[in-house]
Symmetry: C3
């Protein structure tokens, strides 16, 4: 499971928020081998002054359209997979939700398979063969 | 310290929310050796469309009663402790807050003792003997 | 990049919230070598019953003025840097936002440089020389 936390400034439409969430999930499926149904997200809208970003760090011009995506998942993805994921998120959010590529920041936090339970109080990634993670 | 982030859909009663928080804490104390007073949590209620879950991943039938629990704590718990913790959370949330066991998902994120300060700007886990962590 | 998540109880002024965010950032810049412009934060205000803290864990007397700071950043800071950071946060939040030093708790979560993208779908910490992280 990844659990994904997405932060945006207040003011986006329902359709945009849905497209942002779906774009991040789609990129995980395509680039990181995440199962199609492994889809868990929290999307939070913030008032001004509660979501702080620098408008120029690393020479990138950010606006209030800034989207911050934090993905918690198990370690094991390669650097190439992560790079492909970043690029695909920026692309999909631009196409589907009109987010400027400059306004997409992403951070990954990795743990281990034993650190997940998906229900019934069971650590499924320890008890269920990988070909049944669907 | 663990810091625990609990996500639920809007609509639960105050009593249910309190019971969910207390159940997660109780399970940490019983199964993972967390001190009784080491109790720090953030509980967030979400509108539809802001808290996304798959209703069938891994063959588990989830509903809008879905509760996601993310625990940040120091590494050092065994796999057996973690498995006992998952089972006890599902059990206590069912008994005390009427949460279906299918609707409880948990993720752990581990760090190290030097990564905590509990007040006064001091890294207590480096300066205080473990028998005084209470 | 650090991404910083700050939790407070509802009721603080805009000026206090801004001072809390700026104090945490200032301490990161001074003590942990974080670039001045590397400033990204989420500040969340909570209703009673949604932000739980123990009023006496480790012998520290906490009040509803409690502030919890969670910092996600790349590994590499020394224990000495982290200890200096904790002390400086407590000091700055006290001076600038009237937060009692007892009411400041901090947790760090570390990842790796390849786990960050700051825009354009690129992993800047892999592609940009460190002397250009500004």
């Amino acid at each position: 499971m990844p659990i994904i936390r997405i932060e945006v400034m207040k003011g986006r439409t329902e359709a945009e928020l849905a497209a942002i969430g779906q774009g991040v999930h789609r990129a995980l499926v395509e680039c990181c081998g995440v199962p199609e149904r492994d889809h868990f997200q929290v999307i939070t809208e913030h008032e001004p002054g509660r979501f702080i970003y620098d408008p120029g760090y690393l020479g990138i011009a950010r606006t209030d359209g800034f989207v911050f995506v934090q993905v918690f998942f198990s370690a094991g993805r390669t650097t190439e997979q992560k790079k492909a994921f970043y690029a695909r998120v920026a692309e999909l959010l631009n196409i589907q939700a009109h987010v400027r590529p400059e306004d997409v920041a992403i951070a990954l936090v990795e743990n281990t398979p034993e650190n997940w339970s998906f229900g019934h109080g069971v650590a499924q990634y320890l008890t269920l063969p990988k070909d049944q993670w669907r």
